[in-house]
Symmetry: C2
Subunit: 485 residues, 2 copies
């Protein structure tokens, strides 16, 4: 159903025409996020500049029963900001002020549209930085990071967004402003802060974020190790963690990733290796030296065929250059690729890579594997050609199988990209009816009309029942109070 | 209203007589938790031994509309397990099996009645331990730790319970079993794990917990520093944290605490000091050495009048002995004491201690201060005589003022003890109507009949309105849909 002209006029009254986008050409920018395989042209995009405007808009949308899809920088990889028919897109990109850098308490307070990297840039003069660093950090916004609980290369040591946010202000669908969290380790009442982080725009719209800043590490060291098999690389990862080392980053690339990357970025990776590990250590110089020695010893014990230590900052950056260029590099060898995101127990690493290989072969597709190995977060890149009919359907099917494999080995269908539109079916595999029903009840407690980002992140019980993933008693779902979801 | 005999009989049928307590003498044990100033004799205590029994009991209670107060070891300090008239107490103490120690994945899976210290004892042969260490760790249970999001001396570095739990199984008031969380950093869907931790028995009953185990640190070092003023000690704390050091523990004791403790534990604390700091550093030997040097330098720069470094494990234990005996030591100089728990920004430490002194003097009571200074968690102990009429009312009033002071300086009314029965009024100070209303809506999503631990943790909007803390429009609360709370 198209939006009523009365509603659109009220939006214009609230924001002024400059902050309302309704012409098809300009709307085109908003038809997808970075998961560009799915598109839906929105009818109206609203670009508020103040918290008051967000509150007023949500209250207005509620009055008119208009669904709302919030959007940050549009860099999300699971379709969380994909427009929904009949809904408005609420773009937070104009709210991009850094409200405070507080070096004494090591905090920064930010509007949601502030770019991730801009936080660390603003904190640098004080010797501080913001730890989570998604690979899109030059473009992605802190509001989107909160919505998706974004991670990055360093989350093994420094955690995801949820571990680095102290407080948020959240506007509910009523237009009410909630202040969640605080400065301390504990806050009284239910932990609505953790609940809201990663809720993918389904519970409210984040309009202000206070993050923790960390002191810049005085020393950073990177080791590169090559292995003759993925199994050996996986065993080395397990040994490093088991030894009590906590690298800032611990990345694994398979042969296909090494070869694609090397051709593009010339990082000097050993092309004959079946897998390489990049291990970054940071901290005080004495600690980094000691950790580096221990890591080298462990790598040797686990049959590394070659171990290099970056001698200076230039070489360190070169070691990373390949890994960081992995996605564009793959973009050169295939016309399109689809980046998956799942998590597995570290011990399952070699087994899962082998299974992914078998699944890919069966479907006739190629897969390049890049892992945040330390925390078991895998990013298989499935190569395909979007212009070849039926290719994307095969990719979707293979992607689904890979996620289901993650669940089967005791892992999860997300690592840092969220569920969004992409992984709805796999949610039926990850969870039983009891948990899904509780998710829906919780959603009702925030958004009883179901207007916030409808159809995302949590599948309806009907959807799971149709997939055969939920037991249906004589035509009724196990949770009849939730049948309308 | 007394419990119906039909209900009691059904409980006996489910559990057998051995697991049902109904005689007054035995019930007396359950009339309070460690906040013994508040007591209520329960009518019936149920002691399930299996998850199935918990599920059946909760479903039964729901059917008979009987409220349920879950109880761990009864060591809580905020009255979270205080019985409620008309409710049953659900004791989890018989469910105390360690289900698995998994050294490879560094996890332990536990029944809720397992004692906190027993986890580390079981993990020790594998070189592992469980980090959160409430001072009651010899007695308190992991289930209670989860319910209250317990902390301990080392939570500055290692976090609270919420930061160390990977998964829980939660039985809802429907008798449904939910599996929340998983092994990875991120889990899809709403973060019900973080939500449930610290929810004080209001959302469900925890029947199984999987915790993260950490490698035992190869080296631990403790420094003791004395100061001529609390301000200087506070400045030293701020300087240590600002320098990027992350001590495992950083404790402050004021003059009254030093003197009470020294008389009891003979730890060799400097009696002439206005305050002492205990700073524990742990990690690899090289790192501990380097951190220790940096810490000493900072302490010197911040006017420490004396700095001692424990030369061996015996001296380290002696340094801690005083701090650990602080509560019993205070029990010797006063017939009764009341332990408060609040959090403040570190920078407010000296100011808050001074204000607490002024408030105490105005009320004619003495206060002894013990701080987890590193994370701003204070534990003022208010001394009184329970047998003197009117004394406890003065203590309650002073305690309330101290918590409100925490809120006024930007802190919180909890640190690690929870809200329970104790801090309901201060919740009206900590939160505005919008957040409290959202808490109640969330509670309804789990427990629509309000049967789980009623009257705890989240005050009714009416209560706050009566305190004058909430604006009431022509006799109606701002959230009319929540009037029944």
């Amino acid at each position: 159903m198209p939006l009523s002209s009365a509603f659109i006029q009220k939006c214009r009254d609230l924001l002024g025409d400059r902050q309302v986008i309704a012409d098809t050409e300009s709307l085109r920018v908003y038809e997808c996020d970075a998961l560009a395989a799915y598109r839906q042209l929105p009818e109206l995009v609203l670009l508020p500049e103040t918290v008051d405007q967000v509150q007023a808009l949500l209250a207005l949308c509620r009055r008119y029963r208009v669904p709302v899809v919030a959007r940050g920088a549009g860099t999300g990889l699971s379709g969380g900001a994909l427009p929904v028919a009949g809904a408005v897109v609420l773009g937070l990109s104009k709210m991009q002020r850094i409200l405070a850098i507080d070096p004494e308490n090591r905090r920064a307070t930010l509007q949601p549209g502030v770019r991730n990297l801009a936080i660390s840039e603003a904190a640098r003069p004080y010797g501080l930085y913001y730890a989570p660093d998604p690979s899109s950090q030059i473009a992605c916004s802190i509001g989107g990071n909160v919505a998706e609980n974004a991670g990055g290369v360093h989350c093994l040591k420094y955690g995801l967004t949820v571990h680095n946010v102290l407080q948020i202000k959240l506007v509910t669908m009523d237009g009410e402003l909630l202040v969640l969290g605080g400065g301390g380790l504990d806050t009284p009442g239910y932990d609505l802060l953790a609940l809201a982080i990663g809720s993918e725009g389904l519970l409210g719209v984040v309009v202000e974020i206070t993050v923790r800043l960390l002191p810049l590490q005085p020393r950073t060291q990177v080791l590169l190790a090559a292995f003759a098999s993925v199994e050996q690389a996986g065993a080395a990862v397990a040994a490093i963690i088991a030894d009590g080392l906590l690298p800032a980053g611990l990345e694994l690339m398979d042969k296909a990733a090494i070869s694609a990357t090397e051709a593009f970025a010339h990082a000097g990776y050993p092309l004959e290796a079946a897998a390489i590990l990049l291990c970054e250590l940071d901290g005080m110089p004495e600690q980094v030296e000691a950790d580096s020695r221990r890591t080298r010893r462990l790598l040797q014990q686990h049959a590394a065929t070659e171990i290099r230590t970056a001698v200076d900052e230039t070489e360190r950056k070169r070691f990373w250059a390949g890994r960081k260029a992995a996605f564009p590099a793959v973009g050169r060898i295939a016309s399109d690729y689809y980046c998956m995101d799942g998590t597995i127990p570290r011990g399952q690493l070699a087994h899962v890579l082998q299974q992914i290989g078998a699944l890919a072969e069966a479907s006739g597709l190629s897969v390049v594997n890049v892992f945040h190995a330390g925390d078991g977060n895998l990013h298989p890149l499935i190569l395909y050609d979007a212009n070849r009919a039926g290719d994307f359907e095969k990719v979707e099917a293979l992607g689904g199988r890979i996620l289901e494999l993650c669940v089967a080995v005791g892992g999860a269908i997300t690592g840092e990209h969220g569920v969004g539109h992409e992984k709805l079916n796999q949610m039926c595999v990850q969870f039983r009816a009891a948990e899904l029903a509780q998710f829906h009840r919780l959603k009702q407690a925030f958004d009883p009309l179901g207007l916030l980002n409808p159809g995302k992140a949590i599948p309806s019980l009907h959807r799971c029942a149709e997939m055969g993933r939920m037991h249906v008693h004589s035509g009724r779902l196990p949770h009849p109070d939730l049948e309308r979801f």
